[in-house]
């Protein structure tokens, strides 16, 4: 091999960068975030159910929020009829955060894990819906 010092240095840099996920995870026994559902509002529910099904909420809650926002801000409608027929007031603070009043242990925990940072809280209050 010619110029073996340079080649070796280059290969070591390449391997170090390519295996970053492996060595950065060394000694890491991270588990999926535990979502805390233990809030006063949820504890009062007979049936522990979100606005829509759990799978739908997991994947599409941002779409639902967007739909709500547009309905409220553009069309002035405030009542949402869920697919199971229940009705909800379309509001981030007064509906979502009333049940999920533990935003830090719920929304934030999940978002930190997934690396998303919604920018709602510069305008909407984080405070519990039923203050």
């Amino acid at each position: 091999m010619y110029k073996s010092r340079n080649i070796l240095a280059g290969l070591i840099i390449f391997i170090a960068m390519a295996t970053f996920p492996f060595w950065s995870a060394l000694g890491n026994d991270s588990v999926a975030p535990v979502l805390e559902l233990d809030t006063p509002a949820i504890n009062q529910l007979e049936e522990k159910q979100c606005v829509e099904s759990r799978d739908f909420m997991r994947r599409r809650h941002m779409e639902l929020l967007m739909e709500w926002k547009n309905a409220v801000a553009r069309e002035g409608m405030r009542i949402y009829r869920a697919s199971d027929g229940k009705t909800y007031d379309m509001s981030l603070q007064n509906t979502c955060l009333k049940c999920h009043s533990n935003k830090e242990e719920f929304c934030d925990r999940c978002h930190d894990y997934a690396g998303v940072k919604p920018v709602c809280w510069s305008c909407h209050l984080e405070a519990k819906g039923d203050e």
């Binding site: 999926a32 779409e63 709602c120």
Partner: protein, 330 residues
């Protein structure tokens, strides 16, 4: 021909992942075994290619002169385009790798008004190539959010800059969309320009189509079908910690995405894509042009027996004198 075949290949790969996961339920194979195998082939293959290249001697400088060579002190030389020192070579290489400097010199040659050749401005290939590579890098760095917990701060910073724009309430990652557009342009360019199409082969179309499909499935997952990101991260972290798990609730679209990544990585060392490593070994870029200052000895030179004129004359002096041939030494 190459185009049709590579399109068929990509469709077959997508179908394979779809059937394997949806019908046969081979989540573990497509989510764990194949990604590990592909990553191993990628690492070992790239190392093998580089070591193999490093075994060819490069005895002579191969200057591509885009500037004045260093010679006499009062002749101004171009230190980056015709470097004589290692620092100059590093600068030239960095500009090449980061900004595709030699591609920037690209022009289009056309015959105009009979046999007159005209060179015209052509920076689209450079622009699309640069956008393509940079956005691919950003996409890959941003994907590290799936592989590390807590997410490293450089990934967060890059994601928040990249996700500056929002549509509705959601952040849009510009690099993912630019990647899709740029790869589409690069593909259309190959098909639409007859000269380029003439020299295009399966090995040109195939990687473009794989990356196109990758970006497409990624964008579908993020903005339309909505992947269960938490479950995906569990799978990815499981791979990174050698503790593989296959969580419930991941859609088949993700397995198609992951399978195409695996195919791309496994194919990488055996294809043109190794230019990622090869660029650093290209002699016209990594050699200082110092032929006038240093003697470069060819390593495979064998000792040559020489018979110099002095020796010749010593041997035949008497005879030469006898027939009247002039000699240098009496």
């Amino acid at each position: 021909m190459g185009m049709g075949l590579s399109a068929l290949l990509v469709i077959a790969l997508v179908l394979l992942a779809f059937l394997g996961v949806q019908v046969a339920g081979l989540q573990f194979l497509f989510g764990v075994v194949i990604p590990y195998a592909a990553f191993f082939i990628f690492l070992a293959g790239v190392v093998y290619r580089i070591v193999k290249w490093a075994q060819s001697p490069v005895p002579f400088r191969i200057p591509t002169t885009c500037g004045q060579q260093k010679s006499l002190p009062w002749i101004k030389s171009n230190k980056i385009d015709n470097p004589a020192s290692t620092a100059g070579v590093i600068a030239r290489m960095a500009l090449e790798v980061l900004f595709f400097r030699s591609l920037f010199r690209n022009v289009r040659a056309e015959l105009k008004d009979g046999p007159k050749i005209v060179y015209t401005w052509e920076k689209w290939l450079w622009l699309a190539g640069l956008l393509f590579h940079w956005s691919m890098l950003l996409v890959i760095i941003r994907h590290l959010r799936f592989f590390a917990d807590p997410i490293p701060s450089f990934v967060k910073v890059i994601s928040s800059v990249d996700g500056f724009f929002e549509i509705g309430l959601q952040h849009i990652y510009v690099s993912g969309i630019i990647l899709l557009l740029a790869v589409t342009y690069l593909f259309i360019r190959r098909v639409a320009i007859p000269q380029v199409r003439y020299i295009s082969l399966l090995s040109d179309y195939f990687p473009l189509l794989v990356i196109f499909t990758l970006a497409l499935t990624g964008i579908l997952m993020r903005y339309f079908m909505r992947e269960n990101v938490v479950a995906v991260k569990q799978l990815a972290l499981g791979l990174a910690t050698f503790n593989p798990t296959v969580p419930e609730g991941i859609s088949v679209l993700f397995y198609i995405h992951l399978f195409l990544v695996s195919v791309l990585f496994a194919y990488f060392p055996f294809s043109k894509l190794v230019h990622m490593g090869g660029i650093f070994l290209s002699p016209t870029r990594n050699l200082p042009n110092d032929s006038r200052a240093r003697r470069h000895i060819n390593p495979w030179n064998y000792p040559v027996e020489v018979h110099s004129y002095e020796e010749y004359e010593d041997e035949f002096r008497q005879v030469m004198k006898a027939v009247g041939i002039p000699v240098e030494k009496e």
